[in-house]
Protein backbone atom coordinates (compact mmCIF):
# COMPACT_ATOMS: atom_id res chain seq x y z
CA UNK A 1 0.00 0.00 0.00
CA UNK A 2 1.50 3.10 -1.11
CA UNK A 3 1.40 6.83 -0.90
CA UNK A 4 2.21 9.92 -2.91
CA UNK A 5 -1.24 10.58 -4.21
CA UNK A 6 -2.04 13.18 -6.73
CA UNK A 7 -4.96 14.95 -5.11
CA UNK A 8 -5.74 17.29 -7.95
CA UNK A 9 -9.01 19.04 -8.80
CA UNK A 10 -10.50 21.86 -6.82
CA UNK A 11 -14.12 22.21 -5.81
CA UNK A 12 -16.67 23.84 -8.07
CA UNK A 13 -20.26 24.95 -8.07
CA UNK A 14 -22.82 22.36 -9.07
CA UNK A 15 -25.76 24.59 -9.82
CA UNK A 16 -28.52 26.08 -7.64
CA UNK A 17 -30.70 22.91 -7.57
CA UNK A 18 -27.98 21.17 -5.59
CA UNK A 19 -27.75 23.83 -2.92
CA UNK A 20 -29.73 21.90 -0.30
CA UNK A 21 -27.76 18.78 -1.01
CA UNK A 22 -24.55 20.79 -0.87
CA UNK A 23 -25.58 22.16 2.50
CA UNK A 24 -26.26 18.68 3.82
CA UNK A 25 -22.92 17.46 2.46
CA UNK A 26 -21.12 20.37 4.16
CA UNK A 27 -22.88 19.62 7.45
CA UNK A 28 -21.76 15.99 7.34
CA UNK A 29 -18.16 17.01 6.61
CA UNK A 30 -18.18 19.62 9.38
CA UNK A 31 -19.56 17.07 11.85
CA UNK A 32 -16.75 14.68 10.82
CA UNK A 33 -19.35 12.17 9.63
CA UNK A 34 -18.76 9.84 6.69
CA UNK A 35 -20.08 10.28 3.15
CA UNK A 36 -21.54 7.04 1.76
CA UNK A 37 -21.86 5.94 -1.90
CA UNK A 38 -25.47 6.93 -2.56
CA UNK A 39 -25.21 10.31 -0.84
CA UNK A 40 -25.13 13.44 -2.93
CA UNK A 41 -21.60 14.78 -3.26
CA UNK A 42 -20.01 17.62 -5.26
CA UNK A 43 -18.64 16.50 -8.64
CA UNK A 44 -15.18 17.73 -7.70
CA UNK A 45 -15.20 15.63 -4.50
CA UNK A 46 -16.17 12.56 -6.52
CA UNK A 47 -13.53 13.21 -9.17
CA UNK A 48 -10.80 13.83 -6.61
CA UNK A 49 -11.63 10.60 -4.82
CA UNK A 50 -11.79 8.55 -8.01
CA UNK A 51 -8.39 9.86 -9.03
CA UNK A 52 -6.82 9.32 -5.61
CA UNK A 53 -8.30 5.85 -4.99
CA UNK A 54 -7.46 4.72 -8.53
CA UNK A 55 -3.88 5.92 -8.20
CA UNK A 56 -3.70 4.12 -4.89
CA UNK A 57 -5.13 0.89 -6.38
CA UNK A 58 -2.77 1.06 -9.37
CA UNK A 59 0.15 1.46 -6.95
CA UNK A 60 -0.86 -1.75 -5.19
CA UNK A 61 -0.85 -3.89 -8.29
CA UNK A 62 2.19 -2.26 -9.92
CA UNK A 63 3.94 -2.67 -6.56
CA UNK A 64 3.71 -6.44 -6.99
CA UNK A 65 6.34 -6.27 -9.72
CA UNK A 66 9.52 -5.09 -7.97
CA UNK A 67 8.98 -7.62 -5.18
CA UNK A 68 7.70 -10.39 -7.43
CA UNK A 69 11.04 -10.02 -9.18
CA UNK A 70 12.69 -11.79 -6.20
CA UNK A 71 10.20 -14.59 -5.47
CA UNK A 72 12.13 -17.18 -7.47
CA UNK A 73 15.43 -16.07 -5.96
CA UNK A 74 14.46 -15.69 -2.30
CA UNK A 75 17.30 -17.04 -0.14
CA UNK A 76 15.22 -19.65 1.73
CA UNK A 77 11.85 -21.38 1.58
CA UNK A 78 10.72 -19.35 4.61
CA UNK A 79 11.59 -16.05 2.92
CA UNK A 80 9.97 -17.20 -0.29
CA UNK A 81 6.69 -18.20 1.39
CA UNK A 82 6.59 -14.83 3.19
CA UNK A 83 7.28 -12.88 0.01
CA UNK A 84 4.58 -14.74 -1.92
CA UNK A 85 2.10 -13.96 0.88
CA UNK A 86 3.09 -10.29 0.80
CA UNK A 87 2.74 -9.98 -2.97
CA UNK A 88 -0.65 -11.71 -2.74
CA UNK A 89 -1.68 -9.17 -0.11
CA UNK A 90 -0.84 -6.35 -2.53
CA UNK A 91 -3.19 -7.87 -5.11
CA UNK A 92 -5.89 -8.02 -2.44
CA UNK A 93 -5.28 -4.40 -1.50
CA UNK A 94 -5.67 -3.45 -5.14
CA UNK A 95 -9.02 -5.24 -5.20
CA UNK A 96 -10.33 -3.51 -2.04
CA UNK A 97 -9.41 -0.16 -3.54
CA UNK A 98 -10.82 -0.78 -7.03
CA UNK A 99 -14.07 -1.80 -5.30
CA UNK A 100 -14.03 1.42 -3.26
CA UNK A 101 -13.50 3.43 -6.47
CA UNK A 102 -16.38 1.59 -8.15
CA UNK A 103 -18.80 2.81 -5.49
CA UNK A 104 -18.20 6.28 -6.98
CA UNK A 105 -19.64 5.16 -10.31
CA UNK A 106 -16.64 4.12 -12.38
CA UNK A 107 -15.81 0.60 -13.61
CA UNK A 108 -12.64 -1.19 -12.65
CA UNK A 109 -12.06 -2.05 -16.32
CA UNK A 110 -12.20 1.63 -17.16
CA UNK A 111 -9.61 2.39 -14.49
CA UNK A 112 -7.33 -0.40 -15.73
CA UNK A 113 -7.66 0.94 -19.28
CA UNK A 114 -6.60 4.38 -18.04
CA UNK A 115 -3.60 2.87 -16.24
CA UNK A 116 -2.59 0.84 -19.29
CA UNK A 117 -2.91 3.91 -21.50
CA UNK A 118 -0.64 5.86 -19.14
CA UNK A 119 -3.47 8.28 -18.33
CA UNK A 120 -3.53 7.54 -14.61
CA UNK A 121 -0.50 7.37 -12.37
CA UNK A 122 0.82 5.09 -9.68
CA UNK A 123 3.32 5.80 -6.93
CA UNK A 124 6.66 6.89 -8.39
CA UNK A 125 8.56 4.65 -5.94
CA UNK A 126 7.79 1.58 -8.07
CA UNK A 127 9.74 2.96 -10.97
CA UNK A 128 12.96 2.14 -9.12
CA UNK A 129 14.54 -1.28 -9.70
CA UNK A 130 15.07 -4.08 -7.16
CA UNK A 131 18.69 -4.95 -7.89
CA UNK A 132 19.31 -7.45 -5.11
CA UNK A 133 17.61 -9.33 -2.27
CA UNK A 134 18.30 -6.56 0.26
CA UNK A 135 16.05 -4.28 -1.81
CA UNK A 136 13.10 -6.46 -0.80
CA UNK A 137 14.00 -5.65 2.80
CA UNK A 138 14.37 -1.93 2.07
CA UNK A 139 10.98 -1.85 0.32
CA UNK A 140 9.29 -3.53 3.27
CA UNK A 141 10.93 -1.32 5.86
CA UNK A 142 11.04 2.07 4.11
CA UNK A 143 8.44 1.97 1.33
CA UNK A 144 5.77 0.14 3.33
CA UNK A 145 6.74 2.20 6.37
CA UNK A 146 6.13 5.43 4.45
CA UNK A 147 2.92 3.97 3.04
CA UNK A 148 1.62 3.16 6.52
CA UNK A 149 2.41 6.71 7.63
CA UNK A 150 0.32 7.99 4.71
CA UNK A 151 -2.44 5.45 5.12
CA UNK A 152 -3.25 5.36 8.80
CA UNK A 153 -4.84 8.86 8.61
CA UNK A 154 -6.84 7.67 5.55
CA UNK A 155 -8.68 5.22 7.84
CA UNK A 156 -10.52 8.38 9.01
CA UNK A 157 -11.07 9.74 5.50
CA UNK A 158 -14.50 11.31 4.96
CA UNK A 159 -15.49 8.82 2.25
CA UNK A 160 -16.77 5.65 3.98
CA UNK A 161 -15.80 2.90 1.49
CA UNK A 162 -12.27 4.29 1.12
CA UNK A 163 -11.82 4.57 4.89
CA UNK A 164 -13.08 1.00 5.42
CA UNK A 165 -10.74 -0.37 2.75
CA UNK A 166 -7.86 1.44 4.45
CA UNK A 167 -8.65 -0.15 7.82
CA UNK A 168 -8.26 -3.62 6.29
CA UNK A 169 -5.14 -2.59 4.41
CA UNK A 170 -3.41 -1.01 7.39
CA UNK A 171 -3.99 -4.15 9.46
CA UNK A 172 -2.26 -6.24 6.81
CA UNK A 173 0.46 -3.73 6.12
CA UNK A 174 2.19 -3.96 9.47
CA UNK A 175 3.37 -7.49 8.67
CA UNK A 176 4.91 -6.13 5.48
CA UNK A 177 6.98 -3.55 7.28
CA UNK A 178 8.19 -6.01 9.90
CA UNK A 179 9.25 -8.62 7.37
CA UNK A 180 11.31 -5.95 5.59
CA UNK A 181 12.91 -4.87 8.85
CA UNK A 182 13.74 -8.49 9.66
CA UNK A 183 15.40 -9.04 6.27
CA UNK A 184 17.63 -5.98 6.78
CA UNK A 185 18.37 -6.87 10.40
CA UNK A 186 19.48 -10.37 9.40
CA UNK A 187 21.68 -9.02 6.60
CA UNK A 188 23.23 -6.28 8.71
CA UNK A 189 24.17 -8.81 11.39
CA UNK A 190 25.61 -11.23 8.82
CA UNK A 191 28.92 -11.09 6.93
CA UNK A 192 30.48 -7.71 6.03
CA UNK A 193 29.35 -8.28 2.44
CA UNK A 194 25.76 -8.87 3.55
CA UNK A 195 25.81 -5.77 5.71
CA UNK A 196 27.17 -3.73 2.79
CA UNK A 197 24.34 -5.07 0.66
CA UNK A 198 21.76 -3.93 3.20
CA UNK A 199 23.39 -0.50 3.46
CA UNK A 200 23.44 -0.15 -0.32
CA UNK A 201 19.72 -0.92 -0.52
CA UNK A 202 18.92 1.65 2.17
CA UNK A 203 21.10 4.22 0.38
CA UNK A 204 19.14 3.78 -2.83
CA UNK A 205 15.65 3.63 -1.31
CA UNK A 206 15.95 6.35 1.34
CA UNK A 207 15.37 9.44 -0.80
CA UNK A 208 12.69 7.97 -3.06
CA UNK A 209 10.87 6.90 0.13
CA UNK A 210 10.88 10.48 1.43
CA UNK A 211 9.45 11.59 -1.92
CA UNK A 212 6.47 9.27 -1.37
CA UNK A 213 4.90 11.91 0.87
CA UNK A 214 4.50 14.18 -2.12
CA UNK A 215 5.74 17.70 -2.88
CA UNK A 216 6.53 20.19 -0.08
CA UNK A 217 3.50 21.88 1.47
CA UNK A 218 4.10 25.24 -0.19
CA UNK A 219 3.95 23.56 -3.63
CA UNK A 220 1.08 21.19 -2.90
CA UNK A 221 -1.67 23.42 -4.27
CA UNK A 222 -4.59 21.00 -3.96
CA UNK A 223 -3.90 19.94 -0.38
CA UNK A 224 -6.08 22.66 1.10
CA UNK A 225 -9.22 21.44 -0.69
CA UNK A 226 -8.55 17.80 0.21
CA UNK A 227 -8.03 18.82 3.82
CA UNK A 228 -11.28 20.81 3.84
CA UNK A 229 -13.10 17.74 2.51
CA UNK A 230 -11.67 15.52 5.23
CA UNK A 231 -9.80 13.37 2.70
CA UNK A 232 -6.39 14.52 3.85
CA UNK A 233 -5.71 14.80 7.58
CA UNK A 234 -2.04 15.82 7.75
CA UNK A 235 0.20 17.78 5.41
CA UNK A 236 2.90 16.13 3.27
CA UNK A 237 5.71 17.72 5.26
CA UNK A 238 4.18 16.76 8.62
CA UNK A 239 3.99 13.10 7.65
CA UNK A 240 7.46 13.19 6.09
CA UNK A 241 8.91 14.60 9.32
CA UNK A 242 7.19 11.91 11.37
CA UNK A 243 8.58 9.26 9.07
CA UNK A 244 12.14 10.58 9.37
CA UNK A 245 11.94 10.74 13.17
CA UNK A 246 10.65 7.19 13.36
CA UNK A 247 12.99 5.56 10.86
CA UNK A 248 16.25 7.18 11.96
CA UNK A 249 15.77 5.56 15.36
CA UNK A 250 15.00 2.22 13.69
CA UNK A 251 18.12 2.51 11.49
CA UNK A 252 20.20 2.64 14.68
CA UNK A 253 18.71 -0.68 15.77
CA UNK A 254 19.53 -2.11 12.36
CA UNK A 255 23.12 -0.86 12.65
CA UNK A 256 22.68 0.99 9.34
CA UNK A 257 22.84 4.66 8.44
CA UNK A 258 20.65 6.84 6.24
CA UNK A 259 22.44 8.56 3.35
CA UNK A 260 22.03 12.16 4.49
CA UNK A 261 25.01 14.24 5.66
CA UNK A 262 22.71 17.01 6.87
CA UNK A 263 20.73 14.78 9.21
CA UNK A 264 20.89 16.29 12.74
CA UNK A 265 18.75 16.06 15.84
CA UNK A 266 17.25 19.47 16.50
CA UNK A 267 16.56 19.65 20.23
CA UNK A 268 14.74 22.94 19.89
CA UNK A 269 12.22 21.54 17.39
CA UNK A 270 12.23 18.08 18.92
CA UNK A 271 12.68 16.64 15.42
CA UNK A 272 15.45 15.62 13.05
CA UNK A 273 16.55 18.21 10.51
CA UNK A 274 17.25 16.57 7.17
CA UNK A 275 18.82 17.45 3.83
CA UNK A 276 17.17 18.81 0.70
CA UNK A 277 15.15 16.40 -1.44
CA UNK A 278 15.91 16.29 -5.16
CA UNK A 279 12.49 17.33 -6.44
CA UNK A 280 13.80 17.43 -10.00
CA UNK A 281 14.33 13.68 -9.80
CA UNK A 282 10.79 13.27 -8.41
CA UNK A 283 9.35 15.28 -11.32
CA UNK A 284 11.42 13.28 -13.83
CA UNK A 285 10.21 9.92 -12.49
CA UNK A 286 6.58 11.07 -12.37
CA UNK A 287 6.90 12.35 -15.94
CA UNK A 288 7.88 8.85 -17.01
CA UNK A 289 11.67 9.06 -17.10
CA UNK A 290 12.38 6.89 -14.06
CA UNK A 291 14.56 3.79 -14.35
CA UNK A 292 11.65 1.34 -14.75
CA UNK A 293 8.53 3.26 -15.91
CA UNK A 294 8.37 1.63 -19.33
CA UNK A 295 9.13 -1.84 -17.98
CA UNK A 296 6.45 -1.65 -15.26
CA UNK A 297 3.70 -0.56 -17.65
CA UNK A 298 4.75 -3.04 -20.33
CA UNK A 299 4.67 -5.91 -17.82
CA UNK A 300 1.27 -4.80 -16.48
CA UNK A 301 -0.29 -4.76 -19.97
CA UNK A 302 1.31 -8.10 -20.73
CA UNK A 303 -0.06 -9.69 -17.53
CA UNK A 304 -3.52 -8.31 -18.34
CA UNK A 305 -3.42 -9.69 -21.90
CA UNK A 306 -1.97 -13.03 -20.81
CA UNK A 307 -4.82 -13.40 -18.33
CA UNK A 308 -7.53 -12.83 -20.94
CA UNK A 309 -8.08 -16.54 -21.55
CA UNK A 310 -8.67 -17.14 -17.83
CA UNK A 311 -11.39 -14.48 -17.75
CA UNK A 312 -12.93 -15.84 -20.94
CA UNK A 313 -12.92 -19.41 -19.60
CA UNK A 314 -14.53 -18.36 -16.32
CA UNK A 315 -17.21 -16.48 -18.22
CA UNK A 316 -17.86 -19.40 -20.57
CA UNK A 317 -18.12 -21.81 -17.65
CA UNK A 318 -20.57 -19.54 -15.82
CA UNK A 319 -22.74 -19.25 -18.95
CA UNK A 320 -22.70 -22.99 -19.58
CA UNK A 321 -23.60 -23.70 -15.98
CA UNK A 322 -26.44 -21.15 -16.05
CA UNK A 323 -27.84 -22.69 -19.25
CA UNK A 324 -27.75 -26.18 -17.73
CA UNK A 325 -29.56 -24.98 -14.62
CA UNK A 326 -32.22 -23.28 -16.71
CA UNK A 327 -32.70 -26.49 -18.74
CA UNK A 328 -33.06 -28.52 -15.54
CA UNK A 329 -35.57 -26.07 -14.13
CA UNK A 330 -37.80 -26.09 -17.22
Amino acid sequence: MYGNYDTGTAGGSDGPQDQDAQQRFDQLITADQRIEPRDWMPDAYRKTLIRQIAQHAHSEIIGMQPEGNWITRAPSLRRKAILIAKVQDEAGHGLYLYCAAETLGIDREELLDLLHAGKQKYSSIFNYPTLNWADVGAIGWLVDGAAIMNQVPLCRCSYGPYARAMVRICKEESFHQRQGFEILHTLSHGTPDQKAMAQDAVNRYWWPSLMMFGPPDEESSHSAQSTAWGIKRFSNDELRQRFVDMTVAQAEVLGLTVPDEDLRWNAERGHYDFGAIDWDEFARVIRGDGPCNAERLHRRRQAHDDGAWVREAAQAFAEKHATQQEARAS
Binding site: W40, L95, Y96, E109, H304, A308, R311, A314, Q315, H321
Partner: protein, 98 residues
Protein backbone atom coordinates in the same frame (compact mmCIF):
# COMPACT_ATOMS: atom_id res chain seq x y z
CA UNK B 1 -7.10 -7.09 -27.33
CA UNK B 2 -10.70 -8.07 -26.85
CA UNK B 3 -11.50 -7.85 -23.16
CA UNK B 4 -15.29 -7.93 -23.33
CA UNK B 5 -15.22 -11.20 -21.40
CA UNK B 6 -14.43 -9.24 -18.27
CA UNK B 7 -16.93 -6.46 -18.71
CA UNK B 8 -20.27 -7.10 -17.19
CA UNK B 9 -19.16 -9.60 -14.56
CA UNK B 10 -21.69 -9.01 -11.82
CA UNK B 11 -20.73 -7.46 -8.49
CA UNK B 12 -21.14 -9.55 -5.34
CA UNK B 13 -21.34 -8.36 -1.76
CA UNK B 14 -19.37 -10.48 0.69
CA UNK B 15 -20.51 -11.26 4.25
CA UNK B 16 -18.29 -13.11 6.72
CA UNK B 17 -19.09 -14.78 10.04
CA UNK B 18 -15.95 -14.16 12.09
CA UNK B 19 -16.66 -17.00 14.51
CA UNK B 20 -19.50 -19.13 15.78
CA UNK B 21 -22.08 -17.15 17.70
CA UNK B 22 -21.66 -13.98 15.62
CA UNK B 23 -23.79 -12.76 12.73
CA UNK B 24 -22.39 -12.49 9.21
CA UNK B 25 -21.04 -9.02 8.62
CA UNK B 26 -20.51 -7.13 5.37
CA UNK B 27 -16.78 -6.98 4.60
CA UNK B 28 -16.63 -5.78 0.99
CA UNK B 29 -17.40 -6.75 -2.57
CA UNK B 30 -15.88 -8.32 -5.67
CA UNK B 31 -16.65 -9.16 -9.30
CA UNK B 32 -17.10 -12.76 -10.39
CA UNK B 33 -18.86 -14.57 -13.25
CA UNK B 34 -20.89 -16.82 -10.94
CA UNK B 35 -21.57 -17.65 -7.29
CA UNK B 36 -18.99 -20.43 -7.06
CA UNK B 37 -16.19 -18.18 -8.27
CA UNK B 38 -17.44 -15.35 -6.09
CA UNK B 39 -17.25 -17.62 -3.05
CA UNK B 40 -13.77 -18.86 -3.84
CA UNK B 41 -12.46 -15.39 -4.56
CA UNK B 42 -14.09 -14.09 -1.38
CA UNK B 43 -12.22 -16.76 0.56
CA UNK B 44 -8.91 -15.72 -1.01
CA UNK B 45 -9.49 -12.00 -0.69
CA UNK B 46 -11.32 -11.59 2.61
CA UNK B 47 -10.22 -14.54 4.79
CA UNK B 48 -6.48 -14.89 4.16
CA UNK B 49 -5.79 -14.52 7.88
CA UNK B 50 -8.48 -16.73 9.31
CA UNK B 51 -11.01 -13.89 9.52
CA UNK B 52 -13.99 -16.18 9.08
CA UNK B 53 -15.70 -19.55 9.51
CA UNK B 54 -18.53 -18.92 7.04
CA UNK B 55 -19.00 -16.75 3.94
CA UNK B 56 -22.11 -15.50 2.12
CA UNK B 57 -21.90 -13.93 -1.30
CA UNK B 58 -24.96 -12.04 -2.56
CA UNK B 59 -25.44 -10.43 -6.00
CA UNK B 60 -25.29 -6.69 -5.31
CA UNK B 61 -28.20 -6.22 -7.72
CA UNK B 62 -30.38 -8.31 -5.39
CA UNK B 63 -30.06 -5.84 -2.54
CA UNK B 64 -32.98 -3.47 -2.06
CA UNK B 65 -32.08 -0.28 -0.22
CA UNK B 66 -33.85 2.85 0.90
CA UNK B 67 -33.06 6.10 -0.82
CA UNK B 68 -30.62 8.14 1.29
CA UNK B 69 -32.35 11.37 0.17
CA UNK B 70 -35.51 10.19 1.91
CA UNK B 71 -33.58 9.29 5.00
CA UNK B 72 -35.31 11.75 7.27
CA UNK B 73 -38.90 10.96 6.28
CA UNK B 74 -38.18 7.24 6.00
CA UNK B 75 -37.04 7.00 9.60
CA UNK B 76 -39.46 9.64 10.92
CA UNK B 77 -41.92 7.18 12.49
CA UNK B 78 -39.26 6.17 15.04
CA UNK B 79 -38.50 9.71 16.13
CA UNK B 80 -41.58 10.46 18.27
CA UNK B 81 -41.84 7.20 20.20
CA UNK B 82 -39.56 7.82 23.11
CA UNK B 83 -41.66 5.43 25.20
CA UNK B 84 -39.95 2.60 23.34
CA UNK B 85 -36.83 3.25 25.39
CA UNK B 86 -36.54 2.07 28.99
CA UNK B 87 -35.15 5.46 30.02
CA UNK B 88 -38.60 6.99 29.30
CA UNK B 89 -40.04 5.47 32.50
CA UNK B 90 -39.67 6.75 36.04
CA UNK B 91 -38.68 4.02 38.42
CA UNK B 92 -39.59 4.69 42.07
CA UNK B 93 -36.74 4.53 44.50
CA UNK B 94 -36.33 1.14 46.10
CA UNK B 95 -37.72 -0.83 43.14
CA UNK B 96 -35.05 -3.38 42.25
CA UNK B 97 -34.29 -5.62 39.29
CA UNK B 98 -36.24 -3.38 36.91
Amino acid sequence: MNDDSKRGWPLWEVFVRARRGLAHQHVGSLHAPDGTMALRNARDVYTRRGEGVSIWVVPSAAIVANNPDEKDSFFDPAADKVYRHPTFYDVPEGAKHL
